[in-house]
């Protein structure tokens, strides 16, 4: 290969390398809500349990297969914890009444997706809200969702209550037992 051709190839390679470094893929500012209706429901319909912003509501929860692949681990010091696998998705439909649930007209849909490297991630999770269950989802960047979900990492009054007070990676339900 001639010197000139070699130099041209090296220059092109350097340019390509620079371009690949500079041109990182920026995620879209909306979230594409997956087709979750076929997923398993880790808990029955939640009704009659109120908490802030969910007073009088009925909730239906779905989780994808990846969410079920996480297990509770024990570290060398004997401390038990769970880290949900990246790609785990939990979807919660919130209805104003049972009638709305039967009509499939949610007030809003909230989604948690484990995606630690995402720029909108908080503590490794994306929190997304989809108004009335239609259209793309919007990222929730404040602690509107995560502020409560922090409580999942200690004992709490919901579902199995996390009686052992272990780190459950911000998920209130025990995915191990589903």
């Amino acid at each position: 290969m001639s010197k000139k051709r070699c130099s041209v190839l090296i220059c092109c390679a350097c340019l390509a390398l620079c371009a690949s470094c500079v041109k990182k893929e920026t995620p879209a500012e909306t979230y594409a809500v997956p087709d979750y209706r076929g997923w398993k429901q880790p808990v029955p319909i939640v009704s009659g349990i109120d908490f802030p912003e969910h007073v009088g509501t009925v909730r239906r929860i779905y989780a994808n297969d990846t969410a079920y692949e996480s297990r509770t681990e024990t570290d060398a010091a004997g401390y038990r914890y769970r880290i949900m696998k990246p790609g785990s998705v939990v979807v919660k439909e919130t209805y104003s009444s049972l009638e709305d649930l039967e009509n499939n007209t949610p007030r809003f849909v909230t989604i948690m997706e484990k995606s630690p490297s995402h720029p909108h991630a908080q503590n490794g999770w994306l929190f997304v809200r989809q108004l009335k269950g239609v259209g793309p989802g919007e990222y929730v960047d404040g602690r509107y969702c995560s502020g409560c979900h922090e409580a999942a990492n200690e004992s709490h009054p919901y579902f199995d209550g996390n009686p052992d007070d272990i780190f459950r990676d911000y998920i209130f339900i025990n995915m191990d037992s589903q």
Binding site: E53, G142, R143, Y144, G147, A151, P157
Partner: protein, 483 residues
């Protein structure tokens, strides 16, 4: 005289200028970017520290409040304040009222629980409302940690408004009516960070100036020594060569410029050789070489005036003298004739011993040839050959068509003229007496108006069957100079 190059166009100015600009821009951008990045990191780290402190306080309050020990939470706040007198730590309720200053919340909790679980406390402390209402309500409304900067006279402080979320465990006492129970406010002075930032910036600027100065100096000195000065020297050498001073360069380094100097030296040798060689060939040959024509054997016909001069009595002069003396005298008399022939725009074709063959072409070629001959005769007659006697010269001039071209072989060429005209010119010279100028009829016809000539009896020359008509030139018509 060549005009000087304007200073701003000279490479000794432009190259250093470009170097300075590149260094200032490159190093400047880098320094600025890294300084700014460091300062931003410093600020971010400070914000992070404040955020961590707020998080710790939040967890502490939660732990204490869950146990119903609000007083412990308040004491904790006081202790934290003592630990850092320049900071501010406050807790507000969601409406912006300072927390732990009244028993209102306690009463609300008892009402919610429908029992007197908690006894009223003494007022804990005096509080204040948030300094920055928009940031406070941003934290409450959007349930997010909000950072802000407060400017005072001396410095600025970073502040955080951290909402206290009404978490599941809190619901038991506080109910589920609100998502945000209150806001933790912490502010830390940035004086230390600002001082460090300023110092970092000063150091960056100083380093930048130092590096630019140092690098510029080093690079310019290096460039001047290795490239610029040497190029300028080459330029002045080439200029000298153009003026005919064949000086050589001294290649100082074995690099591209050193090689250039060596090549220039070879070129100088070649030019010198050519320059010296040019003295050995006729002017017409030199002019022919300058053309772009391919050098081929052959030529064409042209009408010229050919003049032969011969020093009379030179052989006897030479017999009794040393070779050096003879050659010296010969060169002096030859040089005298060469100058005259050149003066009259003639071209020396060749030297044959003490004989010169010259060619005249162009306008008034015959008149110029005759004038040159007359001048030669006059000067040779007055030429002091060193023994009190003078040389004598015989001249023959003919005009007509000749064959002018390149003759010889491919490896050795002579550009000259041949033909009958040349031969007759030589014959006329051979019959010319001492200090006699003999011209042919062809020449006479061209110069008769301007010269005084004497017709001769036709005579025979070797190789010609018809007698030749010739004339002796006495002088110029106007001057009426005669022998």
């Amino acid at each position: 005289m060549k005009s000087k190059i304007p200073f701003h166009k000279r490479i000794v100015f432009r190259i250093p200028l470009i170097i300075i600009l590149v260094l200032v821009t490159g190093l400047g951008v880098m320094s600025f970017y890294f300084s700014k990045a460091q300062i931003d990191t410093l600020y971010f780290a400070h914000e992070q520290a404040v955020s961590d402190e707020a998080e710790i306080l939040f967890r502490s309050i939660k732990a204490n409040m869950l146990a119903g020990e609000a007083k412990i939470a308040v004491d904790l706040m006081k202790e934290l304040r003592k630990g850092n007198a320049s900071s501010e730590i406050h807790i507000f309720d969601a409406a912006g009222n300072p927390a732990f200053t009244t028993n209102d919340t306690l009463y609300e909790v008892n009402t919610y629980l429908n029992e007197e679980r908690f006894a009223p406390k003494d007022m804990f402390e005096l509080g204040q409302r948030p300094n920055n209402a928009p940031l406070f309500f941003d934290a409450v409304t959007n349930v997010r940690d909000v950072f802000g900067y407060v400017k005072t006279e001396n410095a600025q402080s970073v502040e955080i408004y951290k909402p206290l979320v009404n978490q599941p465990k809190c619901n038991e006492c506080h109910g589920v009516d609100t998502l945000v129970r209150g806001v933790i406010y912490i502010s830390h002075p940035m004086e230390d960070v600002e001082k460090r930032s300023a110092r970092m910036m000063h150091i960056s600027v100083a380093l930048f100036v130092l590096m630019v100065t140092f690098l510029t100096t080093v690079i310019i000195i290096f460039l001047r020594r290795t490239v610029l000065h040497r190029i300028v020297r080459i330029g002045s050498t080439v200029e000298q060569i153009g003026q005919g001073n064949f000086i050589k360069m001294v290649p100082r380094r074995n690099d591209e410029i050193g090689r250039l100097a060596e090549e220039i030296n070879k070129m100088v040798d070649g030019l010198k050789e050519r320059f010296r060689l040019s003295k050995f060939v006729s002017r017409s040959t030199l002019e022919y070489i300058k053309t772009d024509e391919d050098i081929r054997l052959g030529g064409g016909r042209e009408c010229v005036v050919v003049m032969f001069t011969d020093i009379r009595g030179f052989t006897s002069y030479a017999e009794s003298r040393s070779p050096e003396e003879v050659l010296g005298a010969l060169n002096r008399v030859m040089n005298l004739q060469v100058e005259i022939i050149n003066q009259y725009d003639g071209d020396i074709d060749k030297f044959v011993g003490d004989e010169i063959m010259a060619i005249f072409t162009g306008e008034n070629m015959a008149v110029r040839a005759v004038r040159a001959a007359l001048e030669i005769r006059r000067k040779v007659r007055n030429f002091d050959r060193g023994d009190g006697q003078a040389f004598a010269v015989g001249v023959g001039i003919n005009a007509g068509e000749v064959i002018l071209g390149n003759m010889g072989g491919h490896e050795r060429i002579d550009r000259t003229i041949i033909g009958d005209t040349v031969n007759l010119g030589a014959r006329l010279c051979s019959v010319a007496g001492k200090n006699t100028i003999v011209i042919s009829a062809n020449v006479y016809e061209r110069v008769k108006e301007r010269t005084v000539c004497e017709a001769q009896e036709p005579f025979f020359v070797k190789g010609k069957k018809d007698p030749i008509t010739a004339y002796i030139v006495k002088g110029l018509e106007n001057e009426q100079k005669t022998l």
